[in-house]
Each structure stands twice: as structure tokens, then as C-alpha cells.
Symmetry: C2
Subunit: 238 residues, 2 copies
């Protein structure tokens, strides 16, 4: 391992955004590893997706172990335990007003970044890459760049180790994220995103639509579907 | 539950510092709950201590459920998993230079504060209290107040909920922490701290010294022992 190599750890859930981020990282860093979190709930479908995607990147896209290294899978049942913590009536109303599910654990992305940073520290990496985006979806305040800047300062100071939180999708629309995937790896990669990534809140993988699997009705499916339609419309108009 | 009540969640490990913080919180907030983390390793001794201490505060110090409420015990094996993550040789040297054990997970206190904040959010609390101290022990950079200020900004922004990280011991010497315990709850509480709190890195509880249980040789025992001796010397000189 050369000290001049650029190395990054990608927060990789198996969704569209983190898969696109992973492709982006493979084009922008010498060496990349991935980290995922298992915390029960709906994410079982995503966890299966991530194994498939990593396998296809290695086999069909020929990313060797020297380029796409170890996948770190962390159990994080603590999140599940917190989401079971009884709400006071005051907090419950506040959450309903915000339109977030009552099982939502606030600051979840802060925890993902901090845990990933601990691995990055131990592995000698200088960057953690995440697919957070403040353009399409404002329901989760911990996706905002100013929040991640504060966290980056806290983690760099708290580990006494400079670490960069890189968020290539932060200011992109979902249509632009579809286009980025195409630009990075071509049309077959768009098919991989459709077939192998998972976004649907309900875990619905019963039917394949033009934009991929999903219920087509939850907020995540709607954003993905509309983004795809806008991406196709923009491509056709050129 | 009145909305004008001041309510805080205390990071409570069963050690000297967090036990003193808990007493401080009971004197400074209307209602207090506690949170602890189980992540294997040496902390089994501390976890037994915390149950004993909470029981004694309820029974002997007569703190009712309306004052000292629920104890949240979170499993956090993720830390253990990260400490098992292979180190690159570069990172390993860096850690040895710092004098921290190679199993140390950097940023651990950031994770504790962020997880506690998620519970505080759900319970409608405005403060998380921790016994971090930058005076006596500089080995852990995530105990520093400037780091916690950055994290407080990240968590408040990331949860869209203002939360305060309160660290009453931050600038105290260990002798002053012993004195604070006395000032808050009297001489019997000093005996409780000696008998029922745990600090020793090695988990040694084989012999009771003047300053409590412990091996007497690890950094944590030395700080506790010297702090006690300074506290007694200062008390006698008055």
C-alpha cells in the first residue's frame, strides 16, 4: 500500500444514490472500500442488493481487489433499540408534523458518518463518501451539507485525524444522479441501477418498472421515478 | 410532565466521573434519566456498578421516579466490531505513538453523545450530560470541549432540535471532582464513590484502597488515586 494512494470509504447501502457514489469513488480515488449497516427494519432488501452490486462490479466491471477492496458490514441494532424507545407525547407530535415515520431515529446519518470515520481512521483512509442530497428531499435534516461540515469538524478534532466527508450528490437533482451514473459507467450501468439497487420504503420488489423495482407510491419511489423520467426526457431532447 | 420542567439525560457508565455528573444533574435539573452502553470489553464491572449506584440513589438517597427516571441500556456491539477491524500498518504506528490501546475506537465519545441525543430527542429532553474532562487526561481528543461544541452544532442541526451537551467536569482536576461529590451529597457519597464506582482499566476489584477499588497502576487508577490524595490534603489544610 503506497502512502501517496488516495483511499476512500464509501457508505454503501445498495440504494441508487450510494451505488452511484461508489462508481464515482472508483473513478476518483485509487482505492475504495465499502461499509454498510445492518439495523433490521426494511433494509434487508437493500442488503441483498449491495452483495449483488459488489459482485457485479468485481465480475462484469472488472474492478480488482486492488481497486475495490474489503466490504465492512456492521451490525447496528442500537438504532433499532432507540427507535423502540418510548416517545413522550410532545416529541411524538413534533415528529408527526415533520412527516417522518415515528420509528425514525434522528441523526442517523451522523452516526453512519462517525462510525465509518472510525473504520477510515483504523484503515488509514482520508475520506468518507456518502450519497446524501439536500436537493430532492428535505425531510432529513442530517443530509444537509452545513450539518455534515459541523460533523466533519467534530470527527476530525475528536479523532485528531483529518477526515473529509465527500458528498458528490449533495446538490444534484435525481435526474442528474441518473445522468452521473450513465456518464461514469455507461448504459449497462443504468440497467444495473434499475435491476439491482433498492430505494422503496416498503421493500416492494414485485414488479420491474422502467425506473426499477418499487411500490411506485412511497416518497422514495416517486423521487426515483420522476428523476428517471426527467433524465430520459433531457437525454431525448439532445 | 410539565413542559417547563428542565430535563436531562446523563451518560452514565458507573465510573467516578459519570456518577458525580449524575449527582450534579439531580441538583441542577427537575428530572433526570440515564443512558449506558454495553459494548463488551472491560466494561462489565462498570455495568454492575451502575445498577448498584442507581439502586442506592433511589433507596438511600430517596430520589423518586419523578426525579430520577428510566435507565436506558443500549447494546452497542458495533464498537466491538470496529475495534476488530484490521489496522493498516500506518494507522497502527500512529496509535502506538499516541499511547492508546490498539483496540481503541476513535471518536467513541462522539458516538455516545449522538446516540444519547437521539434518545433525548425522542424523550423531549434539552440536554445530554457527560463527565468528559480535558484537564486530567489528554489522551482522548474527543473529550475536548471544542470538539463537543462542533458535535453539538452538528447534532442540533442534524436533528433540527436544539440540544445542549453539558460537561460539568470539563475543567476540573480529579481532586475537584472528589470535592464536588462531597459538596453535592456529603461524606457518605464519597464512600459510595469509593465502593460502588469503577474506573480501573483492568477491571480489578480485588482490593479496596483508600480511593476505591482498582489495580492502582493503570492510568485511570493513578489519576483517581492522586486526585483523592490531593482532595484529602486540601480538605485537611483548611
Amino acid at each position: 500500500m503506497s502512502q501517496s494512494q488516495t483511499r476512500a470509504l464509501v457508505l454503501f447501502s445498495g440504494g441508487q444514490d450510494s451505488t452511484t457514489c461508489l462508481a464515482w469513488a472508483l473513478h476518483n480515488y485509487d482505492y475504495v472500500e465499502t461499509v454498510g449497516f445492518n439495523y433490521g427494519q426494511r433494509h434487508v432488501a437493500e442488503l441483498e442488493c449491495r452483495t449483488n452490486i459488489l459482485g457485479r462490479l468485481r465480475n462484469e466491471y472488472c474492478y480488482s481487489e486492488e481497486k475495490l477492496g474489503q466490504d465492512h458490514m456492521l451490525d447496528f441494532q442500537t438504532l433499532y433499540q432507540i427507535s423502540d424507545t418510548a416517545l413522550t407525547s410532545g416529541a411524538e407530535i413534533k415528529m408527526t408534523e415533520r412527516g417522518l415515520p415515528s420509528t425514525f431515529v434522528p441523526g442517523r446519518n451522523l452516526l453512519f458518518f462517525t462510525l465509518a470515520s472510525a473504520i477510515a481512521y483504523r484503515r488509514g483512509f482520508s475520506a468518507v463518501i456518502g450519497g446524501m442530497c439536500e436537493t430532492d428531499f428535505s425531510g432529513y435534516p442530517d443530509c444537509r451539507r452545513d450539518v455534515l461540515n459541523d460533523l466533519q469538524a467534530a470527527v476530525s478534532g475528536g479523532m485528531d485525524y483529518p477526515i473529509e466527508f465527500v458528498t458528490p450528490l449533495m446538490y444534484k437533482t435525481k435526474a442528474e444522479t441518473w445522468k452521473l451514473a450513465f456518464d461514469l459507467e455507461g448504459g449497462d450501468f443504468i440497467e444495473l441501477i434499475k435491476n439491482d439497487t433498492h430505494t422503496c420504503y416498503k421493500g416492494d420488489r414485485s414488479a420491474l418498472h422502467l425506473w426499477g423495482y418499487g411500490c411506485g407510491e412511497c416518497p422514495a419511489c416517486l423521487i426515483r421515478k420522476e428523476g428517471y423520467e426527467q433524465y430520459i426526457a433531457a437525454s431525448n431532447s439532445k
